[in-house]
Symmetry: C2
Subunit: 420 residues, 2 copies
């Protein structure tokens, strides 16, 4: 028998971040949904039903629906990223899986030239590894330069391809590179790697989950065969939703239709695309991505200003003392990873230990630091107004000053007034 | 270069079904989101950001988040369906894939007893076939009785298991049955099939996408190892979202953690669950499912009343003349499939051809008939108030009367006044 369930906790829980707080969590900043889009979704009644986009589905394929304009949206999205063909997927991870599955099918049909290895960047997102594992592929990374830069050289891809060739007599089945990696926000040399992939004739996937929708990305320019995109990470959209963009050649394979039959009585499934679960539903997230698309088209043009904010913030944080950025210098992305020995020192004296930092920030209306961490943290200020960026800077200064004084620590934190 | 994109069409499109229309599309009725849930989602600011649930994620696994109460919700959900363990997935199709993948791994490790065949019901949802295809498994269906009942006998599973055994010397790797199939709304004999699966010791999956959250479902009672659920189809939730519920024994396998390593430098992925993409994000759909859960718990208790509505509607429609239900009689589900020669006859005279029916219904505020169909259609009135059910009945009578008169057809449609 089913137990009695206490339902009050499911009716009454609240959002830790309702309306006015400043969000600084790096996986969230690119997925902030414009207020007018939220309003449209609510007021147009798109939240009324789970299958929000399926009223006028004639073909059993969400990508072919024209009311709302999913078909037009996907066509324009492919264009926007320099590709021939786009499909929506459950998330970038599902897009990556579709690619890996296609590659696995390719080599199982023709294993003469390619071995079951995906060559990737050493700091790739975990979803690249999971997608490879789901598709039964192995993963090999190139090396990075280690602390504190974690730099990856394009030539290391050549070296690794050669060593794989030497060992197996074959090429890796895919080169899969994270456009900007999620640990330090380092921009990978995707164009140079694209050139290498082209020279060896190895299929090339770029996971642009952190970049597509943030700054201009053109897959032709980087010679990518596949671009995987996260709508909730970088296209101002409700999640889960991703996109897979590809060229005409690969579209036939990666978006192939089902061959499945159920015999006796025989039924054929027709148009359903195997590698993306037949049809990826879409729902409210897809509506939100379409509404946000005009906004995303505009915001990528303002990337310079966004980068200026990040770099300004880095220099301000480093002036605080005993705080420094890890990763690319100058930095090329909004995701920043700081080492913060000063906060680590404070945590040793604080009764909340490492939790003091995120907790104090929350009290000041700033949410999204990973709770418990004080030795180092990741942060993003993408899309915030300058006064909000300054407010975040001021909050770190305030917290540092407060505890340095309280615990009589051997630091000299400049006062905010000294700063521009 | 990226072409200039005309963005107005992406900013200004409207919802064909905003607030007041009656929805009768069978895949939608179980996924109508309660108005108070829509309001909470909007007003609590859950639409503010794509990664809506990740503020307090400490472990990189959405299922372990306690604020909002995802962990508690999943525990209670497993209980609610008589299982030991529940995970959220991108949709029921992704839950089915996780099962198929697990089964494929099982037989690749031990192919002595099982062959790579999934035995399924002949009218299974296409996602079952796609999931099998994605996992590299074959699919074989049992026969049904054909037009007009499409009945499936439990014994046909025994016969098919025996014939597979005879042919391959092995058992099918999985029996996968759609609890209620999506074509005629027929209730499959899941309990009897469960007994058969148990006797042969074949793993057993029930796809409850159309039933879990509609009427009480207890997987222990039907002896299922896996229950796949669709939140947007039958749990009053925004999509895409599904659940996979299983027992302790299978949970270890289907939700196994990643073994993937990226060498040089070595990185291990730790807690990410391979078969569900590491972590299934959740986002706004998951929040909506939690808010709707108390409502779903209550509504399954009122199933008798819902079934009464469906059966009343069937008898009313059949009184109209030259309309009849296909599938189970008496009917056991809210999904109804009617053959409607009378509307087919009208369509031959109508300048809008088969489109007249859905179009006329829309004009009367009733949306969700498949546009273009008039020879037969699927419909559901689940969760509608009695006066709305009657309004739908009246609309069909009105349309029939109008065109029978206008086109001088040889039908006698009773007037509404004659009806109770």
């Amino acid at each position: 028998m089913v137990k009695k369930i206490d339902v009050t906790k499911f009716s009454n829980f609240m959002n830790p971040c309702r309306k006015t707080q400043i969000i600084i969590q790096p996986i969230m900043r690119g997925g902030i949904v414009p207020e007018e889009v939220q309003k449209k979704l609510f007021e147009e009644g798109w939240m009324r039903v789970g299958y929000a986009i399926c009223y006028n589905c004639l073909e059993g394929r969400s990508d072919r629906i024209s009311k709302p304009p999913v078909d037009d949206f996907l066509t324009n999205l492919a264009d926007f990223f320099g590709g021939d063909f786009a499909e929506h997927t459950f998330a970038s991870r599902a897009a990556q899986f579709a690619v890996m599955k296609t590659i696995a099918d390719e080599i199982s049909e023709d294993s003469k030239n390619f071995t079951d290895i995906v060559l990737t960047d050493p700091l790739c997102h975990y979803t690249t590894a999971v997608a490879a594992e789901m598709a039964g592929l192995k993963l090999i990374g190139v090396p990075h330069s280690g602390y504190p830069d974690y730099k990856v050289e394009p030539d290391s891809y050549i070296e690794r391809v050669e060593s794989i060739k030497k060992e197996t007599g074959k090429l890796p089945a895919l080169i899969a590179v994270t456009h900007v990696e999620p640990h330090y926000g380092n921009l990978n040399p995707v164009k140079e790697i694209g050139k290498i992939a082209r020279e060896y004739d190895i299929p090339y996937m770029v996971n642009a989950a952190y970049t597509a929708g943030i700054f201009p990305v053109d897959m032709k320019d980087i010679q990518a065969d596949f671009l995987t995109v996260s709508a909730h990470k970088s296209m101002a959209s409700i999640g889960p939703l991703g996109f897979l963009i590809t060229n005409d050649e690969w579209a036939k394979k990666v978006f192939k239709e089902s061959l499945m039959k159920i015999d006796q009585p025989e039924r054929i499934l027709g148009k359903k695309m195997v590698n993306v679960f037949g049809c990826s539903v879409g729902g409210l997230p897809l509506i939100s991505a379409i509404y946000s698309f005009p906004y995303v088209i505009e915001r990528v043009k303002r990337w310079d200003e966004e980068l200026k904010k990040a770099r300004w913030f880095i220099s301000e944080m480093e002036k605080l003392g005993d705080i420094f950025l890890i990763g690319d210098r100058p930095h090329n992305h909004h995701l920043m990873h700081f080492e913060t020995p000063i906060f680590w020192e404070i945590s040793k004296h604080h009764k909340r230990r490492g939790f003091f930092l995120a907790d104090d920030m929350i009290k000041m209306g700033i949410v999204g630091l990973h709770r418990g961490l004080s030795k180092h943290f990741k942060i993003s200020l993408y899309g915030l107004k300058w006064e909000e960026v300054k407010k975040v800077r001021d909050a770190f200064y305030y917290i540092a000053q407060k505890y340095v004084t309280e615990f009589k620590l051997n630091y000299e934190v400049p006062s905010n007034e000294e700063l521009p």
